[in-house]
């Protein structure tokens, strides 16, 4: 029984309250009034599918972000946290965020020592590092962000 209880604590490290909250009530869910950049993210393993919308001004600042789609709790929470995190950044900073988040969640040790940004709330996603098959769920929205900012027209996948 003790072992079993430890396990459920363990899995709660993945499904932290912040993650469950964002999965239940995703922020910035829907379309934007003005969209300058957008990209689709597809995770063929899970069937997670989302579309990310950005409003970027002429100075390259992200004025607003929103997303639509469906997926598991991890992918929805990650997209929701992303839209919270990147508003106000310029495109170059957002790409640095992409690098930091994806390498952190993959458990890429070298990069982790020199994270270019403070991940803040995004650290709540780090439970996925123990679940190789779920890292893709957590990084999907971030790959879509990269595609959108780089004007890549093919849907982002985590493959």
């Amino acid at each position: 029984m003790i072992a079993a209880d430890m396990e459920s604590d363990d899995v709660r490290d993945l499904y932290r309250e912040l993650i469950l909250d964002h999965a239940r009530s995703p922020r910035h869910f829907g379309k934007l009034e003005r969209t300058t950049h957008s990209a689709e993210g597809i995770n063929p393993l899970c069937g997670d599918k989302l579309k990310l919308y950005l409003d970027v001004d002429s100075a390259d600042t992200i004025l607003a972000a929103a997303f639509e789609g469906s997926g598991c709790a991890i992918s929805v929470a990650s997209a929701s946290l992303l839209t919270d995190a990147i508003v106000g950044l310029d495109a170059a900073q957002a790409i640095r965020y992409f690098d930091a988040v994806t390498s952190h969640l993959r458990g890429d040790a070298e990069v982790q020592e020199h994270l270019p940004v403070d991940l803040g709330k995004l650290r709540a996603l780090e439970g996925v590092r123990d679940y190789p098959s779920r890292v893709k769920c957590a990084t999907l929205a971030w790959h879509a962000l990269h595609s959108a900012l780089c004007h890549d027209t093919t849907p982002a996948t985590t493959e």
Partner: protein, 415 residues
Amino acid sequence: MTQAQQHRSTPASVAECRDDFPALHQDINNHPIAYLDSAASAQVPAIVIETIADYERHDHANVHRGVYTLSHRATDAYEGARDQLCKFINANNRSEVVFTSGTTESINLVAQSFCRPQLGANDKILITHLEHHANIVPWQLVCEQTGAELVVAPVNDRGELEIERLYELMTDEVRILAIAHVSNALGTTNPVHDIVREAHSRNIPVLIDGAQGVPHMAIDVQALNCDFYAFSGHKMFGPTGTGVLYGKEALLDAMPPYQGGGDMILEVSFSGTTFNELPYKFEAGTPNISGIIGLGAAATYLESVGMPRIAEWENELLDYMTGRLEKIDGIRLIGTAADKASVQSFLLDDIHPHDLGTILDHQGVAIRTGHHCAMPVMEFFGVPGTARASLAFYNNRADIDQLVDALEKAREIFA
């Protein structure tokens, strides 16, 4: 070979066979493993593992080629497996048993070698809404190549074929009906005897995708009277990368080769090639010798347990599983056909199937989550995917109790 051919005493109860499967004797995340994903890939009994290891240790050589002792032994074991499989499905003769890499290759072989040469723009291929992608995409490819049309018979909201609609769609233009014996996503067992009879009365040949049929019930291809029956080794407790295409001899004989290469020829010159006889015409290149020998051992093992007893035990377990699942608050069972085998798909509250899969893994329970390579089925039920628990004869009620407890835990976490 030696060990596989040893007669195995029949266990007192089918559930005791669990002891034959080494992988089922371990803990996962500090819980005893409850393996409920046999529809994706079944575990392998020790006799299959030992048979393969014996072959690799003592008899490894290429088949149908050497004049030395090892090659004779390898050939005898490989061809012995053909005899075992021939008996297992009650084929009329061993040349009707073509070894492939699995159901997918078996179906592609029929699509390209049997259908493609005779298809034109006015022809149709008939499948159903229940099919696995492996029984959809090969037909789409051959339709693109020939201009033929793919016609899909509908299902009802219990996941059963609408049989009368299927019969109505059996028109003069249909060149083949390709249909699952058992649906991998929903567990629906199709009335294939009746369907074959009806199709034949309209001169339509029938291919049965038996990937999910073979592990769960005795298969008699002569009684079924189907023209082709395709199945995989790893769904029937054998190795991955092995499979069988059964075909009626007259049909196979008339078909051109599917792939060219060694072993499928009698004589090769630059002016032309004479092809080998059946079934070698369809087995180009060095086959998966050790895998096929292991598959033969799996077939013999299943016969020693007894397919009718396996079917009986699994039906009892499926009833127990369905009964326990339907009592869980917030569960939605997907696929509630009257005649089913082994599989229950479901959704729990609004928890995404992948989240369920991860939480269940934490409690030692292995299930499949996602679209199960049957996206049209998921679309029909309006869901992106499901959680699916599937049974084999080595499962028991404790596995199902563990599943139910783990689902309750998932509800707590997502409450």
